[in-house]
Symmetry: C2
Subunit: 320 residues, 2 copies
């Protein structure tokens, strides 16, 4: 049996036909066109699914279920998006709308949770049943899988590990609280610190790489400058790793997962990030002589959304 | 069907005969006698269970299962205590030993997790399926129930929410990390701050109540002094509430439970603690317009350990 997975984003939506092992047989994408009535967006999604099926020479008879990863808060029992800021959606019955076009089981969950599921099936957490995914991008997203199932909490808000408070009365966060993990461990945090360095040290490698222009500073520039032994960049990146290690220890002390998987833009730093990070975690962990979660990088990239959404269908319909 | 619950502690063990509604029909306790071979301690436990049965006019035929709440790290699948510091136990086969005396299912779990279960059955989280219990005592203990079951993590270490890092590079903790929640929200934290106040302000109400003696300062003295409007004590208690609120928000953002229950010595402060705490949480929460966990005080006191251990048996043997 095959499964359709849809990665619904604020800019585009991508649909793929996926095997139960998480292999994508074909995929297609289209603009989401935020602002259209949700009925129209979901009709377009149905049509995108049709494209994927025809391009791979399949029909709806070949698929066991449709899974959708959506931003925001999702009521997985009802298949509705409760609240998604960047889609301007509130209480949108995704399952009901899609079932107008496909007489199949339709499952909906939060995009970060779905990506965590993809790591379990085809990524860095293969053959594990308990994992936490952290995506280190513009913000810090998180997905949690407990005992092989997505963990979404009691109020469908999903785990928001980017908003663990790690610094009382620290940097102001957009969520209304202060000192949230994402203020220190997102790509945005590296950009913020890189800009401060550029202002204070106009001769630094960071400043040179950015052409002296604040707007050009990226997380990649800061990390590359650290690789080239720029003292300011090393300082920024070491603090970043220190903060991320404390966040990871907090997650281990809360969830005791088997694996913590890192995705998102910053994870592209590879071993330059992973090796010192693992050392830091080992040094500060609570139960030093008991086994604890390993830290791994996500190998899936942008396909995690499609694969995970499809696996939602595979798991919930008993195919996995 | 009735269930035996045993609350195993470093000083004493208490056993009770409990209905499936969490009502204790009879109980008894005995010194644990740490230092005896574990076989002897567990033989004594079996004999304590026999006492409870005979005192309530029952026999082993009346009980469905035996549940034990133990300190430390427990492998619930094998019924063994993996590591319990204050019992000097490592890899003790509790189930195997007890089954020498009772031909019954035996279930073992961490004491804080078991207390959380008691809150679900007979305490502040009745009819809820997802809760977090925080015990505000010498340290900060925690128990987590997800979907009606104790959540113990992947490595049997149990959730250690007292060791969430809430202050990067903050106060040194015994766990090897810095800035752990328990450094700011345990009864011990109130004592520490109360002692500092006594030294700096020998005329404060805290100092008067403690007779000017550092060793006499307790959490209760600090809280009582705050009730009597001692400025230093108010300051300490307000900061305590602020830190606890940040910890609770972090727990909500991680687990999204239905209820967070507070137990342990500090919870005896009652509404003087609860009302400002709820205001703080409401003010700093992420999703202000979505439902989130309520904060409640535990009504169970010391019986939570017996009730919860018994419910472990009731749930696992299908009686609940």
């Amino acid at each position: 049996m095959l499964y359709i997975g849809v990665d619904l984003g604020g800019t585009k939506m991508a649909a793929g036909l996926v095997t139960r092992d998480g292999v994508i047989l074909g995929k297609a994408s289209a603009p989401t066109q935020v602002g259209l009535p949700h009925e129209q967006i979901l009709k377009n999604m149905a049509s995108l699914i049709g494209d994927v099926l025809s391009e791979t020479g399949r029909t709806a008879d070949d698929i066991g279920a449709i899974g959708i990863g959506s931003p925001g808060s999702v009521d997985d029992s009802r298949g509705t998006v409760v609240f998604a800021n960047n889609l301007y959606w509130r209480h949108v019955p995704v399952r009901g709308e899609l079932q107008k076009y496909y007489d199949k089981p339709v499952f909906v969950d939060n995009d970060a949770n779905v990506a965590a599921l993809a790591e379990m099936v085809a990524g860095a957490a293969r053959d594990r049943r308990n994992l936490v995914l952290l995506t280190l991008g513009t913000g810090v997203g998180s997905g949690i899988v407990i005992d092989g199932r997505v963990f979404g909490g009691s109020h469908h808000v999903g785990a928001e590990l980017g908003h663990l408070c790690v610094q009382m009365d620290g940097e102001q966060c957009t969520c209304g609280n202060k000192g949230c993990l994402e203020r220190y461990t997102s790509a945005t945090a590296l950009v913020r610190e890189g800009r401060r360095a550029l202002i204070d040290y106009p001769d630094s490698i960071i400043a040179t790489k950015a052409g002296g222009n604040l707007d050009n500073v990226t997380a990649k520039i800061v990390i590359d400058a650290a690789r080239e032994r720029d003292p300011m960049a090393i300082d920024i990146f070491e603090r970043y790793i220190h903060y991320l290690a404390l966040g990871i220890i907090t997650i281990i002390n809360a969830f005791d997962p088997e694996v913590i998987v890192l995705g998102g833009g910053v994870s592209a730093a590879g071993d330059f990030l992973l090796e010192p990070l693992r050392r830091h975690v080992k040094e500060h962990i609570f139960y030093k002589d008991l086994p604890h979660a390993t830290v791994e990088l996500s190998p899936l990239g942008n396909d995690a959304g499609i694969i995970g959404a499809a696996m939602l269908g595979a798991i919930e319909s008993g195919g996995l």
